[in-house]
Symmetry: C2
Subunit: 365 residues, 2 copies
DNA sequence: TTGTAGGCGTTATCAA
DNA sequence: TTGATAACGCCTACAA
């Protein structure tokens, strides 16, 4: 990597950087006047203001320091976004991206920045949360035992939790995961499926891949997954399926590859399933790749369902539940940025729609 | 939207929020001691520290205020990212996403947050830049006349510019756009193409769609586009192509639809082209959709090329130039966060690779 | 229209 | 090991 220390054209670096006070002294006016020149131009004669600005340019004064201003006004002009994953990871999940897009939309109109706060799942270092200069937080899909989340809550700032977990005293945005999952179960039951398998996303902070027993399903720290599994179980049990015989496989990673691995694990546990339920579209699409490798046709040999309704899944005509991910982001932003924000504990539950595609059909024979 | 003002379980709101000073007074120690309890635990007897923390919990003191700390230490613990588009837009561009991913990777390891600073193309309101509490900025693909960019430069903070524009005194990360574009031209020339059309991205801040004359090509405020067009021109002119006969169509939006419209416009200007060059993969993929609608086969009837090497394009086996978008983000982050940062005006030029796919072939006849 | 002065909450420095 | 003091740079009543 070439590195040319080129000619500096930055202004005289000798003098200490100009401040509002030094600028005021320079032109022989008060600090108030300089402050007003920036924040209340109408409180000033145009000539005086021009003089101030001219001097500012001359001395290289970049305008009032945002940090000092924040300290004084008690406003940061930014909101923090807490993501469960290493930041770079979130950008790989289409549903998370849609959420982010919705949130930024609201931040744009409210004229506030969005601070991405890293929250590595393995790390208990919450300094990123503690040191974030923000007016509030949005927590996106965090497990209920995540220290970063609790660090957010202890900051005593406005907070909106999206998807999970359900905590008293903060605003919530989400969907009815259990009901939506149950619809999937009923759809498959109605088609005639009784022998199924499930691939779900991570249920806790620790890396773990493989079969999940009922206890772990019910104790999952990711409420979304817990509720989706509960919904599936309710739907299938109602149709007489013995849930303890249903292979449920957890995948820590959220990727096509993980979906493929999950499908393989499920098939190893019961090669005779007629339907494979995934708790996300990404996992479902990965599962379909695995089935293709095994020359199993979808839906003739095995039906497959997803969850989320991401673009790629809809293009594939995957049977899935469509949820308004972008709208979730918007609602989270609105709740947080709502100027008349007084009541806490508001809940926004967004609608979902079971969307049958071409990946589900009656079981063979 | 249901909205339940539920039971507040927030602690006593009567008292004014605790501060380091009030906490110190409460337990009868100095502020220094409390500060040390948080920042230099080893400078304290364990018992005293325990007493401090206990009192903090009791009074609901959330720890040192990040803004006040920033003011004192002159460190914000965050970097700002300036994007040319409404934030929500950037999340639709795979190359921008890859860049973002690379940048966040570096921010993660450096333990700093990333502040997304909105910079609407139409707006001249640079208050978002002026009020960003950050230690430095990364400007991603901004036009050279953008007021937000100049606001960044006048903040006198470390700044790294990615892709464009080339400005003395700041660090730069990019690729050799002209050379890469010229390779595309030479590839097509070698195949035998002499009658071509071009769809390019926006060349200025104002919305504009349609044919672009040479003057506008050479005055484009987006350096990347300017250099790519210059590279194409150089390559084709060298082969005897009369550039002023080549239809070049600008598209303000960056989407598949825009690519389709651009292709349509080019074909309207010269239905006899044998190759269509797009200055981004997204535009190229949109153009292919338009060609498909017209029952023009690629590459039999028309060859198509892109630029960027995004995943979807490579899956389609589009002939394109692959550039290391994620690596650009990393390099930008490194340059900015480099602790030994003294020299300005460093330049990092990353390699590109012309990657022939299945969308280019010799012209028919 | 302009100026005075106090304080926002913290940390660095130096002394005890 | 602990404490006193002085900034950090700004905003905003209030007064002139």
């Amino acid at each position: 990597m070439p590195s040319y220390p080129l000619l500096m054209d930055s202004p005289p670096r000798s003098r200490p950087p100009a401040t509002l006070a030094s600028l005021a002294a320079e032109i022989g006016v008060s600090r108030t006047t300089v402050s007003n020149a920036y924040n209340r131009p109408d409180q000033l004669s145009p000539q005086l203001r021009a003089r101030v600005m001219e001097a500012a340019a001359r001395l290289g004064y970049p305008g009032p320091d945002p940090v000092a201003r924040s300290l004084r006004t008690r406003k940061a002009g930014a909101v923090g976004l807490l993501l469960t994953e290493q930041l770079s990871y979130a950008f790989r999940d289409p549903a998370a991206l849609a959420f982010l897009e919705g949130l930024t939309l609201e931040c744009d109109t409210a004229r506030v920045g969005l601070l991405l706060v890293p929250a590595r799942p393995g790390s208990d270092d919450v300094s990123g949360v503690a040191s974030a200069a923000v007016d509030g937080f949005v927590a996106y899909s965090m497990p209920d035992d995540d220290p970063h989340l609790h660090a957010v809550l202890s900051r005593r700032l406005p907070a909106v939790i999206c998807d999970q977990p359900a905590l008293r005293g903060t605003d919530l945005v989400g969907i009815d995961d259990a009901a939506a999952a149950r619809e999937i179960a009923e759809h498959l039951v109605q088609l005639g499926h009784r022998r199924i398998g499930v691939v779900c996303m991570r249920l806790g902070r620790a890396r773990r891949d493989g079969p999940v027993d009922l206890a772990r399903q019910q104790q999952a720290h990711y409420h979304v997954q817990r509720h989706r599994l509960a919904g599936l179980r309710a739907g299938f049990v109602a149709a007489g399926v013995a849930w303890d015989r249903v292979p449920v496989v957890e995948q820590f990673d959220h990727s096509l590859e993980a979906g493929a691995r999950g499908a393989a694990a499920v098939l190893a546990m019961d090669p005779g399933i007629t339907a494979l339920v995934a708790t996300s579209d990404v996992l479902a699409m990965g599962a379909m790749q695995e089935l293709a490798r095994r020359r199993q046709r979808v839906p003739e040999d095995v039906s497959v369902t997803g969850f989320d309704g991401v673009r790629a899944a809809l293009d594939l005509e995957l049977t899935t539940v469509v949820q308004p991910s972008l709208e979730k982001g918007r609602q989270a932003g609105r709740l947080l940025l709502d100027p008349g924000r007084t009541a806490r504990g508001r809940r926004v539950v967004l609608p979902t729609a079971l969307t049958p595609g071409r990946t589900t059909a009656p079981p063979r024979i």
